[in-house]
């Protein structure tokens, strides 16, 4: 990993928790290899140090304290990929340390106490006895987090799922050794059986850079101070994320609580002038879109025009037209839908609007749908879109519908989780299966109004079933719809269109940025 690359992409890397974790790895690696500290003239050569350490080991063997130190293979040229600073030397981990497991402590033998117990994954509880009586370096041997390195307090119990690390205390700085062990990423050396386990033998042959004695201390200081800064940065980044969410909530709150036209304008103005501060993730954009839809269906997106014909008249005209079509035998008999009671009305609408039922203002064409199985479609491949509950799912060589229709998903999990819009407009020539309702309207603009409306409101009161959610025709027709005068429908739909395309652009850009971020971090 090239340091100059890291510095170039520094802002991207330090923008996420993931990136900061990578940064820590990078810092540790640099420090352990002496790249963040300066040479000390009077320091002893690391080669000399290594000899001393090996001597100590041999002496211990002679006295019978440890087994014969295995002869570790000499380091070959190819293994020395990184150049080491002057005075340093490469060695094998086994030259510096030897490990041995702690003592078994089964759960039923454990007694509540004050002595911390270290197991395979680190601190795992408390006991009333210690089997080690000095600060030690413990390496987890067994378990999901094996390879983890800790310094324990003075009195501690180390189980047989962890290693106690032995090394010449007067020749190696304890904290330096811990960082060194951490930088070696011991978990990489896990044997591939069902239970992750680290074998002492395997880790002994890992190559390690040995620093000169005095520099060891400076390395520790450098790591600690840089890590402290990274920790602080992480803390602030987390705070920033929280701030982001709060801005979201505040912006939504602002929009939703605006009572007058003026307040509404002011809140939008505030949001627009600080747009990129408030909306910085794709999810934010989705939230905003939903908020805007909400405003639209409450008549707060555009000004009402008192000169418009009230929507009630429009409703009457639509009923009359449907009756006429029925008499001309173009459509089935319009079903009589239940009266709307006062307490059913979900919210107050502006003057000139009317509440009605979905079935009153649409012409249902479900009877014309023809489902075609996947296998059958194989032989029907063509250029006409084939629609299902969530949109185009295939292309076939024939069509059964022509012209604009509004399609609304009939079933599927999407009805509840709404990962894609439930209502959408199809135009041209196409095929629809029986998982989406198909409706026409008297005026095309109403179709777009209904698309926005259905996508804005909560459909839970109309959807049946939890395992298999379903919105059947009866319930669909019963849905309460707030309808503005025709002119206003035009204005609202137009406005929504403008805003939505801007939002889609923005969302794409943010998605792009996100994937760049991810890419950069992954290549580190």
């Amino acid at each position: 990993m090239r340091l100059d690359k890291v510095i170039n992409e520094f802002d991207i890397i330090t923008n996420s928790i993931q990136g900061l974790n990578k940064l820590r790895d990078i810092i540790l690696d640099l420090a352990i290899k002496g790249k963040l500290t300066e040479r000390i003239d009077t320091d002893e050569d690391a080669n000399l140090l290594l000899k001393k350490i090996k001597n100590v080991k041999n002496k211990l063997y002679e006295v019978g304290k440890i087994r014969k130190p295995k002869r570790l293979p000499e380091l070959k040229e190819q293994e020395l990929t990184d150049e080491l600073p002057e005075g340093w030397v490469w060695c094998r981990l086994g030259d510096l340390i030897h490990v041995s497991s702690g003592n078994n402590l089964s759960k039923n033998k454990r007694v509540e106490g004050e002595i911390p117990v270290y197991g395979g994954n680190g601190l795992t509880g408390y006991h009333n006895q210690a089997n080690v009586n000095e600060r030690s370096i413990v390496i987890g041997r067994v378990g999901a987090l094996c390879g983890n390195v800790h310094i324990t307090p003075k009195k501690v119990w180390v189980t047989d799922n962890a290693f106690i690390t032995y090394y010449p205390k007067n020749l190696l700085n304890q904290e330096y050794l811990v960082w060194l062990l951490k930088s070696l990423d011991l978990q990489k050396n896990v044997s591939s059986t069902a239970q992750p386990v680290i074998s002492g033998k395997k880790i002994y042959s890992l190559k390690a850079p040995l620093a000169t004695p005095k520099e060891q201390i400076f390395i520790v200081q450098k790591i600690e101070s840089l890590f402290a800064q990274v920790d602080e940065l992480e803390q602030k980044i987390k705070e920033d994320r929280t701030m982001e969410d709060r801005l979201q909530v505040a912006a939504l709150h602002d929009i939703q609580t605006a009572r007058t036209k003026k307040q509404s304008q002011q809140s939008w103005q505030r949001i627009l002038s600080n747009f990129d501060q408030i909306y910085s993730t794709p999810e934010h954009i989705d939230n905003l879109k939903q908020a805007i839809l909400n405003e639209a269906v409450r008549g707060r997106l555009v000004e009402q025009d008192p000169a418009d014909d009230p929507a009630e008249l429009l409703l009457d005209r639509i009923q009359e037209e449907k009756q006429r079509l029925y008499e001309a035998e173009d459509i089935r008999k319009p079903k009589k839908l239940p009266e709307i009671k006062e307490k059913e009305i979900p919210y107050e609408v502006p003057a000139g609007w009317v509440w009605c039922r979905f079935g009153q203002i649409t012409i249902n064409k479900d009877a014309q749908r023809i489902p075609v199985s996947k296998s059958d479609r194989k032989s029907m491949k063509g250029k006409y879109p084939y629609y299902g509950a969530s949109g185009i799912i295939d292309y076939v060589n024939d069509y059964i519908f022509e012209g604009k229709h509004i399609l609304i998903g009939e079933d599927g999990a999407n009805l509840i989780n709404r990962s894609t819009p439930i209502a959408f407009i199809a135009s041209g020539r196409y095929w629809v299966n029986n998982h989406a309702h198909v409706m026409g309207t008297l005026h095309p603009i109403t179709m777009y109004w209904l698309e926005a409306f259905i996508n804005a409101i909560d459909l839970k009161p109309y959807v049946t079933g939890t395992a298999q959610p379903k919105l059947n025709q009866t319930r669909l027709n019963n849905i309460l719809v707030a309808m503005p005068p025709l002119n206003e429908q035009h204005k609202i739909v137009k406005k929504l269109h403008e805003v939505t395309s801007k939002l889609i652009d923005l969302r794409l850009k943010l998605n792009e940025f996100n994937s760049i971020e991810v890419k950069v971090i992954n290549t580190l």
Partner: protein
């Protein structure tokens, strides 16, 4: 006549009497009369339960003898009779064989005085009192309420930092401390007995036998230094079924701290110590020098810590001044937090003791032993629409429902937050910590948030450059 009017009528009658001057004397006058009647009514019950019951009051002085008959003695004859009665009762010769109840009688009459100068009016008052029958449950219940009203009115006569603690507050504190049958409960500044009555009511449902009821009787104790509250407190306990109220007429602070031994220690302490008042010179010498102050409430706290058994529980009312005060207060707080677990502070809004004082008060709950690791704070809000409490709109027990729900299963919310002991030590034991929860308007203020965020971003960028520069150095 409806009971509510009884007291009013009595007070009207007394106003006509030249000898009774002012609210304090009126209440004092009513005090011993109510006591005698209540005592007599309780004796009626005892006579039904114990065949050999003998009254500590000589027959001719018992209420049933001279007061009950509407047409009984009146005028001058009544006046001299009353004087004689007082004389006999307060000078009763008692020894270790005398029934405990006699001591109660003697104590009451030692401190009481007959102010009324007109025997006729006295007879009118007596007759009015007879309209209430304390053995009828509904009457007793209603009378309790009236009695409490009288006790509340006593506040205007108070002048040494003593305030009748609103029932809602005493009830809440008692319920949370939850004294259990068998535990000794003490109020070392019991006043008119509000906490003790609540403790009795809390434990009564746990008594299922005569033996258990007697345990209840023996374990509720109080100390009160002023005669009138002492009398009223005694009466209050009798009204609630305590045959021999254990309220000592004494100043708890008057004894050297060291004289309180293990046998004096109790399981539960509930109290509202007088604050703002100053004790007489010299009383602080009863306390270790580092806690010597003349501020009554502070001395009481040191005393309470001493009087609790290990593991004992206490709840007390203290003003804001204690929370942020320094000097001796700091040392007391250090002791409190170092040797006890002060687990909860409920902060009450202004006006709980209106209209007699508007200072801010707090309810402190702690357990003796161990040490405090963290304190939970709860800010009690005004009910919807209230800007303050008042005589006509006092604090009500229903308002404490949220606290009760939250008590056993605590989490931080709009009203509750916790503070770690380290932070408190950093603040040098200033416990006056405000609710960190932001109100709606602050929470949703976009401009404020943007400002905060841009500050934050500056800090982030600074940190980034620092780290980056460190790394850059290695390239050169």
């Amino acid at each position: 006549m409806a009971i509510g009017n009884v007291v009013k009528s009595i007070q009207d009658i007394m106003r006509k009497d030249a000898g009774v001057d002012g609210d304090a004397q009126r209440i004092s006058q009513l005090g011993w009369m109510i006591f005698l009647k209540v005592f007599d009514d309780s004796e009626q019950e005892l006579e039904m339960m114990h065949e050999n019951y003998a009254s500590p009051i000589p027959q001719k002085y018992r209420w049933r003898t001279w007061a009950k008959d509407e047409e009984g003695i009146t005028g001058e004859e009544l006046l001299s009779f009353i004087d004689e009665m007082f004389d006999r009762l307060k000078n009763m010769e008692l020894d270790e064989n005398s029934p405990e109840r006699s001591f109660v009688i003697r104590d009451v009459f030692e401190d009481s005085y007959n102010y009324m100068k007109s025997g006729t009016l006295l007879r009118q008052v007596v007759n009015k009192l007879n309209e209430v029958n304390f053995n009828k449950k509904e009457d007793r219940h209603q009378f309790n309420e009236i009695y409490e009203k009288i006790l509340k009115d006593l506040q205007s006569a108070g002048n040494a930092g003593e305030y009748y603690t609103p029932r809602a507050v005493t009830k809440f504190m008692t319920q949370m401390v939850n004294p259990q049958l068998g535990e000794t409960v003490l109020d070392p500044a019991c006043g008119t007995g509000g906490f003790l009555v609540d403790a009795i009511e809390n434990m009564k449902p746990q008594t299922n036998s005569v033996e258990e009821y007697e345990i209840l009787q023996a374990t509720v104790q109080g100390v009160e230094k002023k005669p009138l509250p002492h009398l009223l407190g005694t009466t209050n306990l009798i009204l609630h079924g305590i045959e021999v109220p254990k309220i000592r007429h004494d100043n708890t602070l008057n004894n050297p701290l060291t004289e309180y031994k293990q046998k004096d220690k109790v399981d539960v302490i509930l109290t509202n110590p007088p604050f703002g008042g100053q004790e007489e010179v010299g009383i602080e010498k009863n306390f270790p020098s580092k806690f010597q102050t003349r501020e009554t409430a502070d001395l009481f706290l040191v005393l309470i810590i001493r009087l609790l058994k290990e593991g004992g529980r206490a709840a007390l009312v203290l003003p804001d001044g204690f929370l942020f005060g320094e000097g001796v207060k700091t040392r007391i707080k250090e002791k409190l937090l170092g040797e006890n677990n002060l687990h909860t502070i409920v902060r009450l809004p202004k006006g709980v003791f209106a209209p007699y004082t508007s200072i801010n008060t707090n309810l402190l709950f702690f357990e003796k032993g161990g040490s405090t690791k963290e304190i939970w704070y709860y800010e009690h809000p005004y009910p919807e629409g209230y800007k303050s409490y008042s005589k006509t709109k006092p604090i009500r027990i229903e308002e404490f429902e949220p606290e009760k729900k939250w008590w056993k299963n605590r989490s931080e919310n709009e009203f509750a937050w916790k503070v770690n002991i380290d932070e408190i030590k950093d603040r040098e034991y200033n416990l006056d910590i405000k609710n960190p929860f932001e109100s709606d308007s602050e929470y949703y203020d976009i401009d404020k948030l943007l400002l905060k965020r841009s500050k934050l971003n500056n800090e982030i960028n600074e940190l980034r450059s620092e780290i980056c520069n460190e790394l850059k150095k290695t390239l050169t």
